[in-house]
């Protein structure tokens, strides 16, 4: 709702930040979190409810983001912020490309050059700006939801 009512009102050229993608990536990168897939599916359904884009397209994009987050989290575990930037960067491009491909295949005339310059790159920049605050927020939330067990 915040995405629809507030974030979508602030555009850079024709691109918006995708707050849900960024928060999902940050959540999936937390080592204690095991529920990222479920959240990706739920997010896809809720966003699909709001948007004209079919919910499977949205859910597939978010699922790819979660998959990349878990892959990078295992490999770049000592540099979580780097992983966050990487997931945000690739996740934004992939979800935007999925949307572009779906619309092009269903008959909407879109110029890739325009889409890249006016939507994808500005959206990427906005998502990268939100990446660090989102990661910090999700890290604190993960610590609160999954407190570490003290071992004696």
């Amino acid at each position: 709702m915040v995405q629809s009512a507030i974030v979508s009102q602030f555009s850079l050229l024709s691109g918006y930040a995708d707050l849900i993608l960024v928060l999902l990536a940050a959540w999936a990168l937390q080592s204690r979190v095991t529920s990222a897939w479920q959240w990706a599916f739920l997010a896809g359904i809720f966003v699909g409810f709001l948007t004209h884009m079919p919910w499977p397209v949205v859910a597939a994009g978010y699922a790819i983001v979660v998959f990349m987050a878990q892959l990078l989290q295992q490999r770049v575990w000592q540099a979580p912020l780097l992983a966050m930037f990487g997931v945000t960067f690739l996740g934004t491009l992939i979800t935007q490309f999925l949307a572009f491909a779906f619309l092009s295949l269903t008959g909407t005339s879109l110029d890739f050059g325009e889409v890249l310059g006016l939507i994808m790159l500005p959206s990427l920049l906005l998502n990268m700006l939100f990446a660090i605050p989102a990661y910090t927020l999700m890290r604190d939330l993960a610590r609160w939801v999954y407190p570490s067990e003290e071992t004696e």
Binding site: T51, M53, Q96
Partner: protein
Amino acid sequence: MKVPSSRSLQTTIIFLVIGGILALALGGFFSSASNQFTSSLVDVQTWISSRYRGFQDFFTAPRDIVTLRTRNAELESQVSQLQAQVIELQQRVSETEILAALVDFSRSNPESTYKAAAVIGRDPSPFLDYIIINRGSNDDIRRGMPVVTNQGLVGRVDAVIADAARVQLITDPASVVNVRLQNAETDALLLGSVTGDISLDLISQNVTVEPGDLVLTSGLGGGYPPDLILGQAVTIRTLEYELFQQATVQPAVDFTRLEIVLVITNFRPVDITPLVPETTP
């Protein structure tokens, strides 16, 4: 002869002196002296009064400061509440102005019935230009109903639930509207784009289109009622080797500031696909 006593002589002299002084005073001869005397009296009085006040404040100040602080806090709280009320009232004034403009519009177009709706969100996807309004099937909103403001056509209802609906704007890349150019008296298509700009296509090469030509819905195709304002033609592109002319359009509606819209509820879009002849290969 009786000689007056010294005592009565003294008394007489004193009276005479006093009477003389009074006469001189009443005559104004002593005004400067009396002014100086009274001003010095006033200075002394002021000094005594200020000292007393200071003495009094010394004993009553603690009680007054607490009272003043409490009162100050109360007033600050009241100021905050009033500021919040002012902001709320300013928003209401702005909404009232918008609604007044929409009421004027609906009165000047009595052939249609309207339902006002507030814009509560936008499509989260940057590829799509849709808005979400707070009226749905419970308010007799149906899919395909046109959406307007007092400035012109906004779009049409794309999806409906009980209490909300999604509206496709005319700036959406997938939006196509059959239009008529008022001055040129020709039909064309209005297309949206990913940038949010709208343009005309399929303008016959035999027609002269001037910048500023008004673009209205033609009613062809049954998707929109006729004669709804969309905008004005701005730049016209005419190339001899192309089949049609194109033009960019300045929209009549400011899509970045949509707050309240009107849904035309007595218009039902017509599905003409059964009438379209099938092309056999």
